[in-house]
Symmetry: D3
Subunit: 245 residues, 6 copies
C-alpha cells in the first residue's frame, strides 16, 4: 500500500530545519515537514512573570498562530475577531508544556524565553513541526544568552531534547507524519511528544471517527517513538553547525 505522496507508512516527510532565519530573534528557525512551514522565533527577556519573581527560576512559554492564508481557504484573523480560538489556545499550551519538560528552571535564572510559532504554510502536523522547530530555536536562544552571560555559561538549562510527530490510522493502516489529506481521512489521530532518550512528554490520541482499540494504540505509539527519534537526530545535526550571527 502506497501513500498519497508515495511514502511508506513508517516514513517522515522531508524535514528541513533552517536556523538563523530572522535577524532579530535570539533563536530563529524555519522548520518544514513537507509543505508545512513554521517560523519559530525565540525571544529572551530578563525577568520573569510576577508570580515567579524572587524565585531564582526562569520561565519558558509559547504562542502558536496561523497566518490567515496558511491554509487552503482563508481563515479570519483572531486579532480582528478579538479573541483567540480554542484550537490556538490548546496548541500554544501544548508547545509550552513540551518545551518546559526539558528545562531546568534554576539553571535558566530569572529569565523568560517566549517561543513564537507562526505557521506560514500548513499541510498537516503544524503543532508537531512547531515543537520540533521551537526546540532548536530555544537551544539557540539559550546559547545566545549564555554568550551574553545573561545565563551562566556553566549551567545546563536544557536537560534533554524534545521532538514531536503526528501518527494516525488511515483506512486501517497506522501511518507516520500525516499530511493534511491523510489527516482529514484518519479514523484516529495522535500527536506524540518525546524526549531524545525515547520517553514520552505528551501523548494525545483522539478517535476522529471510530474509537480505537489497545493494539491500534500500541502500533501508533511504536511508529511515533521511531519518528521522534529520527527527528531528534535531525535536530542534533542542525545544531551541530555553527550559527553565524
Amino acid at each position: 500500500m502506497s501513500r498519497i505522496d508515495g511514502r511508506t507508512p513508517q516514513q517522515l516527510r522531508p524535514v528541513t530545519i533552517e536556523r538563523g532565519w530572522s535577524k532579530h530573534a535570539e533563536g530563529s528557525v524555519l522548520v518544514s515537514f513537507g509543505d508545512t512551514k513554521v517560523l519559530c522565533n525565540a525571544s529572551v527577556t530578563e525577568g520573569v512573570p510576577r508570580w515567579r519573581k524572587g524565585s531564582g527560576e526562569g520561565w519558558v512559554t509559547a504562542e502558536y498562530a496561523m497566518l490567515p492564508r496558511a491554509t487552503n481557504t482563508r481563515g479570519d484573523r483572531e486579532s480582528v475577531k478579538g479573541r483567540i480560538g480554542g484550537r490556538t489556545h490548546e496548541i500554544s499550551r501544548l508547545v509550552g508544556r513540551s518545551l518546559r519538560a526539558v528545562i531546568d528552571y534554576k539553571s535558566l535564572g530569572e529569565n523568560t524565553i517566549v517561543l513564537d510559532c507562526d505557521v506560514l504554510q500548513a499541510d498537516g502536523g503544524t503543532r508537531t513541526a512547531a515543537i520540533t522547530g521551537a526546540y532548536v530555536a530555544l537551544a539557540d536562544a539559550i546559547a545566545w544568552a549564555q554568550g551574553r552571560k545573561l545565563i551562566k555559561p556553566t549551567r545546563k538549562p536544557l536537560t534533554g531534547t524534545v521532538s514531536a510527530v503526528s501518527v494516525g490510522i488511515v483506512a486501517g493502516v497506522p501511518l507516520l507524519d500525516l499530511c493534511y489529506e491523510e489527516d482529514v481521512r484518519a479514523d484516529t489521530d495522535m500527536n506524540v511528544v518525546c524526549t531524545g532518550d525515547g520517553r514520552f512528554v505528551e501523548v494525545q490520541g483522539t478517535a476522529e471517527a471510530e474509537p480505537f482499540a489497545r493494539d491500534e494504540l500500541d502500533a501508533l505509539l511504536g511508529l511515533a517513538t521511531a519518528g521522534c527519534a529520527e527527528l531528534a537526530e535531525l535536530q542534533r545535526a542542525a545544531l551541530a553547525t555553527t550559527l553565524e550571527r
Copy 2:
C-alpha cells in the same frame, strides 16, 4: 502503600450520579467523584448550526466552566475578564468530542443538544467527571426528545456509552482517579475516555515533572480501562431506574 484518602491504587472515589437535578433541563445530572461535583445539564433545541443546515444531521456540543469558588482559592470569572481561558476552552472541546464519539448524527435528526458542565466544587478530575455525568444527561435528553417525537422513537442516536477517568503516577505508583492533592504531586497525569466496549475515544497523557516511559504508560492505560469499565457500569445502573419528570 495507602493513598491520602485510604483508597487502593486501583480504587475509584465514591461516585454518585443524581439524575433530574434541575427541573428545567431536558437532561440534568449532578455527578460526584468524591468531593468533585459537576452539574451536567443537557439542553435540546430544534435546528442545527448554520453550517449543518439541510444535512439531516444533528449536533452535540459542550461547554465546561467552574464557579469562581469551586476551588480552594477564588478564581476570577471569565465573564468578567471578558474572555475564556485556554484550559476552559480545551476541556469544553474535549467533552464535546467525547460525547460526539457515541452519537449517530443521522438518527439525531436536525436537533442540537448542548451539554453544560458546571463545576460546583472541585477536587481533581473535574473533566472526567463532567464527561461521565454528561453522558447520562445526554441519554436522558435523547429519551425526552424521543418521548416528544422530536427524535424518531425508532432511531438509536446513541451508538454506545462513554465514560472517563484520570490516572497518574504519584511517587512512582500508578493511581486511578486522582484527587486534587494527588494530582498536584503527580509526575504524570493522564485523562482517558473510553466507550462501554473498552475502546479509546481520547488518551491525553502529560509529563508534569519527569517524562514517562512506555511501561509506565502501559500501566496507566490498564488502570484507566478498568476504571472506565466500572464507571460505565455505574452509568448503566443510574439509567436503569425510571426518571420522574
Copy 3:
C-alpha cells in the same frame, strides 16, 4: 383568590438556608425560595483594592450570575459572549450595595470579602434570594475570619442583618415573593431590601405594564416589610446552629 401555587398573597414560598454547602468557601450557603436555588459563596482575602489601601478599612463586593440552563430556555454564557449583560451588572451591584449597608468597614480591617451568587435554578426572585442567602454566607465568613484572627474577634463588622424580597401587583392584587409565572404577569414589580430592624436599604419598583399609584406602592411596601422581617427571622434561626467545618 388563590395563587398559582396555592399560597395566600402574604405568604412566602418555602425558604431553606443550607450553610456549609461547599467545602472550600469561608462562607457557603445554598438558599432556596421555592424552586429558586442560589449558591452564595463568600471568599475572604487579606488586603483591599488599590484605591482603598492604607485606609485601615475593608471592602465587600458581590458578583451575581446564572448558569446557562438555570432558566427554562438555555441562555448563552456571558463568558463566551465576552461581555457581562446589563441585568447581570445591575444585580451584582445591587447585591454588593445591600450587603455593604450592614458593614462597618473599620471593624473589617483591610480585608476583602467577595460574595459569589450563582443561580443554579431560577423561578423568580433570584436577586432577593441571593441577597438573603449572601448575608448568611457573609456572617459565616466573618466568623471564620475572626476565628483565624484575620479580623479582630472583639470587633463587630456586621452592624445589622439584611434580607430582601420581591413584591408585585398581579391582576390587581399585591403579592409577596413572586414566582416566575407571577412575575411575568405582574403589572408592577418591586424588589425591597430591608435591615433586620425594618428600615429600607433599597426600594426598586418598576411599572412593567401600567404605571402604579401611591396607594399601590404603599400596599407593596407593607407586604415587603413583613416579608423581609420573616426572612430575617429565618436567617437568625439558620445562624443559631453551630457550623461544622
Copy 4:
C-alpha cells in the same frame, strides 16, 4: 436652612429644554438641570429588531453615556476600555423602560426609535435629566414620523408624558433635585420617574449611608411627585411652540 446654591428644599434647579439642537436627529433636545447638560437625540428607523418582526409593533430603546470630561475628573472612555460599565448599562436600561411606559407599540407600527442621551456636563441628576429631555425628543421624533406618514397621523403612539427627578436626604433634610455636591453628602438617594398624571413608572431608592425609615421614604416620594409634576409642565410648555425644521 438654605441649600448650597440658595434653593429651598422643594425647589428645582433652573431647567431649560432646547428643542431642535442638532440638525440631523429627528428629535433633538439639549436639556439642562442647572449645570447638568444632556443632549438627547431621537433617531427613527423603519423596521424593528429581529425578535419583534412581523408583530406590527414598534420599539423604543435608549443609550446613555457621559463624555469623558463631563465630570470633575476625566473618566476613561468605555469605547477605549472595550466594555460598558455597570452604571452606564443600568441607566440606559432605566431610560429605555421609562420611555416605553408611555408608548403604545401598536400605534408606533414597525418602527424603532433610539434615544441617545449623552451627558455633556454633569452636576448630579444626569439620569433624571436624560429621561425628562428624552421624552421631549421622543415626542418630536414621533411628530416628524407622523409628518412623513411613517407612523399613521391618526394614531397616538404616546399614551402620556414622563418626567423624572432625584430626591435625597442630606443632613436629615429631604431635598428635591440634588446637585453633585448634595448627592455626594446624601444619606439616601432616590430617583423617581412619574407620568404626567402623577403615577409612578420607577422608584429607585438607595441607602448610601444609613438605612431609611418609612416616614423618610414617604417624605421623599412627596417631594418627587411634586417635582415631576413641575417638570411635566415645563415639558408641555416646551412642546407647545412650533419647531422649525
Copy 5:
C-alpha cells in the same frame, strides 16, 4: 462657479471658537466650522504614563469620537460594539501628533494633557476642526496649569500654534474646507495641518476616485496653507480675550 453653500473656492465656512464651554475641563472649546461642531476638552493631570516617568518631560495625547447621531444616520456606539473603529483610531492619533508638534515636553514638566474631541454635529472636516479647536483648549489648559504653578510660569510649553483644514478637488476644482456634500463628491481629499509660521505638520492626501497629478497637489497645498493661516488668525483672536473661570 459657485459652491453648494455659495462660498468661493478659497473661502472657509463661518468659524467660531467658544472658550470655557464646560465648567469642569481645564481648557474647553466648542469649535464650529459651519455645521460641524466639536467639543474639545483639555484635561490636565500630574504625572506621565509609565514609560515616561523620571524623564522630566510631559505628554500630550488626544481622543476623538463622534456622538452616535452626530451624522445623518445613526452610527453604533463604539463602547457598545466593544471596539474602536479604524477611523476613530486614526484620527485620534492624528490629533495627538498634530498638537505634540508644538509642544516642548521639557517645559511641560511631568504633566499629562489629554484632549477629548467629541463631535456633537458633523458636516465634513471634523478632524481638522478638532485640531483647530483642541489647540485653543490646550493653550487654555497650559495657562491654567501655569496659574496653579503645576507648570512653571516662566516656561513656554507651546513652541507655536497649530491649525488644520481640509481641501479637495470637486468636479475638477480645488476647494477649501469641504462640507459633507462636497467631501462625498471629491475626487481627491486632503487634510493639512500647519503651524502658525506656515510650515507643515501633516499632509494627508488621498485619491478617492482618480489619482491626482503633481500640479493638482500643488494647488491643494496652496489653498490649505492660506486656509490654515486664516484659522491661525482666528485662534489668536479667540485667545486674545480674557477667559472667565
Copy 6:
C-alpha cells in the same frame, strides 16, 4: 554624505519580489526591501460583503499585521490582547485604499479579493513594501480568477499599477526608502503611493520632530515619485515571467 548602509540619497535598498511563495493563496508574493520582508497573500472568494450585494461590483480589501518578533524587541500579539492597535488599523486601511485605486469594480464582478500582508521581518518601510508586493499578488490572483472564468477573461479589472515608497529628511538631507535606523532619526517621514503613470494615490507626510517647509516637501515628493517609478519597473519585470502553479 553616505548613508548608514552605503546608499546614495536617491537609492532604493535591494528589492526582491518572489511570486508563488505559498502554495495555497491565489496570489502569493514575498517582497523584500532590504531586510524588510513582507508576505503578501491574495485570497479570492466569490461573492461580496452584504452592503455590496446585487451591485454587480467586486471588492478588494487588505489586512496588515506583524509577527510578534518581526521587530527588534518582541511585541505582544494583537490576538492575545484582544484588539487591533491603531497603527495596524491605519496601515490596513491604507493598503486597501491604495489597491482599490487601480481596480475597476465592474470588471471584477461580484468577487472579493483579500490581501493579507504579514510582516515576517521589519526594517523600516513595511507599509510601502506591503503595498508594492500586494499589487503583484493582486495581479496574480486576478489572472488566476480569469483562468478559472470567475472573472471574465476579456475584462481588465486592473486599471493601472501601484507602488509605494517612504521618504524622509534625516539630518537635513532628503532620503529615499528609509531603513529602520534612518526612520528613527528622521525629522520628517513621508509615505507616497503612486500609480505606474506617475500620479499620486496617497501622500502622507508627518513632521516627527520639526515642521517641514514647502521646499522640503517638494524635494521629498520628487524623490518619492522617482522611487515609485523604479518600483513599478520591478513589478513589471516580476510579472513578466510565467508563474508555475
